[in-house]
Symmetry: C5
């Protein structure tokens, strides 16, 4: 049986963790899910590491980033940390990040967050359950999360 | 009994360490607190690591950042370092940072610093004492430290 | 027999993985190739690490980066991660990145992507099969991937 | 007996290493000092690591940074490296950096460099000899190195 | 007998590796030199690590960086990686980088590259053969590589 980690934040303005959990349940009904909620994105790397140490085969992190340059620096530090967690464990931590300046309209932000969380939760299941070949049919297809697919150019 | 580390700086213009200690004492009266004061934010990662090595179950760092681009680069380097400490120890180091350009009014800066230090000290107690499920009821609720809560969009 | 890893993304709008594989097959017909496809560039470091752990002697990663500052921060985090993978394994991971703002014309972007993927796949074979002396005759020659060679100035 | 490392550069336009050594001698007359001079700031992390490996209980690094964006990127990389040295050794490396654009007047730059080197050398002695509680009376006091103290806001 | 590593790129428009090798031969005629050529600066960290693993006592890397922001991000990632190599091995990797926007005139760029490669190759020999005290007489002297010395301010 596979075990999935879901790490999210209280800073986020959309409950993306719930969407990720619902998607994982639907895509892999036999999978087990462990949730870990932290204050903000800079707390996500250690949350993901702890989830993997507790036996999760992979994890999804769901972060929300404000509009200022400082928020972006925090995003950069968190991203470096999330990649480090993956290199330390050789397991996938798929990162969902929504930036508050991606849209002015709150409803549009909610839509982006939900679409991105759902699509990446599906990606996580494919990677964890089916391995690195599962996404090969979509390589170079210009897939997007949060928006409609851009599609291939060639 | 839980042990909490509090790392702060002489650079800071508000004694946030004192506020964090007072909050931890109130939230977890049986907890023990160890304080470690360093010159500036780039010294915080090793201070946090030493606190955790001395047996602290988690730590809070309280940094103050100036207005220039260079101050922001120092913030970025310190943030990467604080995340590294957490990955090396698998324990939480909740970071409170106040940026001097968050407000022009000194009184407003003091208010931001106090609110942020207090709320994050409470977060630390919840994470250390009650684990990664303690904050789950607040996931996606748009909580803020230093400001009023932004609230959920969905 | 040499084994080569090819890690690419579903975000990319050109199937650069296919081009890299075709080039490696042509340059080193006895080599074996393992492909690993992930959602985006921040997933490439762990994919490369897993390929090397599965016995690949070297790997090529093929990433596609959007136009925003945030995309560039993701590029920076992924680059730091890809270098870390190489330092952890002492093996080469040659990185091919195409930035969507390198050209406005889609055909030109495709051309850049194909040229860069092909030339760097050849570089990977030279480094893995023939070692660090194989490229010495071209040192300082101003070689470019994705564009025509700039040539030497001296 | 305590041993202090002093790492400085030939790039610097002020002999801050000399000032740091003089200050350490005055503040801890029984301490031993080892000096290590490198070309520029990117060489400081390994110099600090070697000093700590040779038995220094802590170190001070004295760097000088030019005016361009690239110089700032080098500062960022060096800062990340200096924090990494501290995390690898659990010992303090107090960093003194002077940026050439902090002042247009050369005399003012010299004054900044001397003040910063002297104050941080004193900080190093306090941290190494007396530990993380030695600076606690000054926590939140708005101390500055290179400039007059900003003072507390609360 | 000392062994020196020289890592350079095919991206560079000046054959700085040759200049570095010639300088090392002149400064330390008994030294042995191993050259390793890679495509670009992001490949230099693993090249340097491999050179050190093959027994080199220190290395010099010679990189060439384009004009765009992305090139600068690659420079930042490579710099972090080169510092990491030094911390992993406790040996010096002196980095020579020429940025294409340092001069508009190609002849001036060649002159910068040659001067910088030669001076830093000499620095490497001093550090490897004579240790961290060899450069102490020049500490704070405002030495420059690629340009004339700035000189001391004090």
């Amino acid at each position: 049986m596979r075990r999935y980690g879901v790490a999210d934040t209280t800073f986020s303005r959309v409950d993306m963790g719930r969407i990720a959990m619902r998607t994982i349940e639907r895509e892999d009904p036999e999978g087990e899910i462990v949730r870990y909620t932290v204050p903000g994105i800079k707390d996500l790397p250690v949350a993901a590491k702890r989830l993997l140490e507790e036996g999760c085969d992979g994890a999804i992190t769901l972060g929300w980033v404000g509009r200022t340059t400082l928020d972006k620096y925090s995003y950069l530090a968190a991203s470096v940390g999330l990649i480090a967690v993956q290199l330390l464990t050789s397991r996938h931590v798929v990162d969902v990040t929504v930036h508050e300046d991606e849209a002015d309209d709150p409803e549009e932000l909610v839509r982006i967050a939900e679409d991105r969380a759902e699509k990446h939760a599906r990606n996580l299941v494919l990677l964890v359950r089916d391995g690195g070949g599962a996404l090969a049919p979509f390589a170079g297809k210009g897939l997007r999360q949060g928006y409609g697919h851009a599609g291939p150019l060639d």
